[in-house]
Subunit: 143 residues, 2 copies
DNA sequence: AAAAGATTTGCAAATCAGTTGCATATTTAA
DNA sequence: TTAAATATGCAACTGATTTGCAAATCTTTT
């Protein structure tokens, strides 16, 4: 993600460059892990004031443009990450203790694999593979 | 799911048999497709009045007991389905047009496959594999 | 560069799903 | 059946997301 350019990304997505979009985009680009709306707002900070509603709208437009991915957890949270070529589709692990979403190696989600259960008649716009439970770090204090 | 017995399921889960639990459980058992809370309430109908809050609490306890699975879509909806031996873990397809969640063939989600990206140190409590887009039926009227 | 039209943002208020507190009803166990 | 435990219903609350609308910012057209 670090490799991607903000200007190019916005341009290619057909979105005009506004300070708010740049703020949201760089938050997503410069953080390794997927972020939720709250994370994004915290990341942007009070310095570069961006309204919460605006963040929702920006995420919507980014998602529609296909430059970010939305990853819903089975605990009702939604996370966002860049969907550029440097960050190909991969599974995630959600820890219900520390409430962090981490990325798992890409291996396993292949066209080959998808063919196993796709009818081929639907148009697939997104794929989510999510494991959840308790992460290695939280195992000790597991409740 | 049809094959499963309500009494046995509740008993094995260590949950007492109440009319409300039976109502929710049979809604899930006797419907082929995964249901959301609204579907369940509709399914139960005004005849067998069950409070919305109660449905949430029942779903919680069923989920904790491991007799149902929760499937979140990337459109913010949550669906529920039986997790009994007659309905093994499988991927789902969510159509953003008709807003239906359908089941895909099980093939593909195997221990073998999971090993590809699991570190083995986390404890995995649930797995969600979700494709979404536009289903075959909605292709024609695709917007 | 100024004006007009289109797009984006911020704010306040509305909506919606899901939760909590508490009194009542139902179960379970003694 | 009686007491203790558990489950349900209702009303009010929470927190996340959405909507309406006016002000600000961009675009591009003269």
């Amino acid at each position: 993600m670090e490799h991607c350019d903000i200007n190019t990304t916005l341009q290619d997505a057909g979105l005009s460059k506004t300070s708010q979009r740049v703020a949201v985009l760089s938050a997503l680009m410069h953080t390794g892990i997927p972020l939720c709306v709250k994370d994004i707002l915290d990341q942007i900070g009070p310095d570069c004031h961006v309204n919460k509603v605006t963040v929702y709208r920006i995420l919507d437009s980014f998602k529609t443009a296909g430059i970010i991915r939305e990853i819903p957890t089975d605990h009702g949270e939604k996370f966002y990450e860049m969907a550029c070529s440097h960050n190909p589709l991969h599974p995630h692990f959600y820890c219900r203790v520390c409430r962090n979403l981490s990325c798992l190696p890409t291996a396993g989600i292949t066209e080959e694999w998808l063919k196993r259960f796709r009818s081929g008649r639907e148009s697939v716009e997104s794929i989510v593979v999510n494991l959840s439970g308790v992460c290695a770090g939280c195992q000790t204090s597991k409740k």
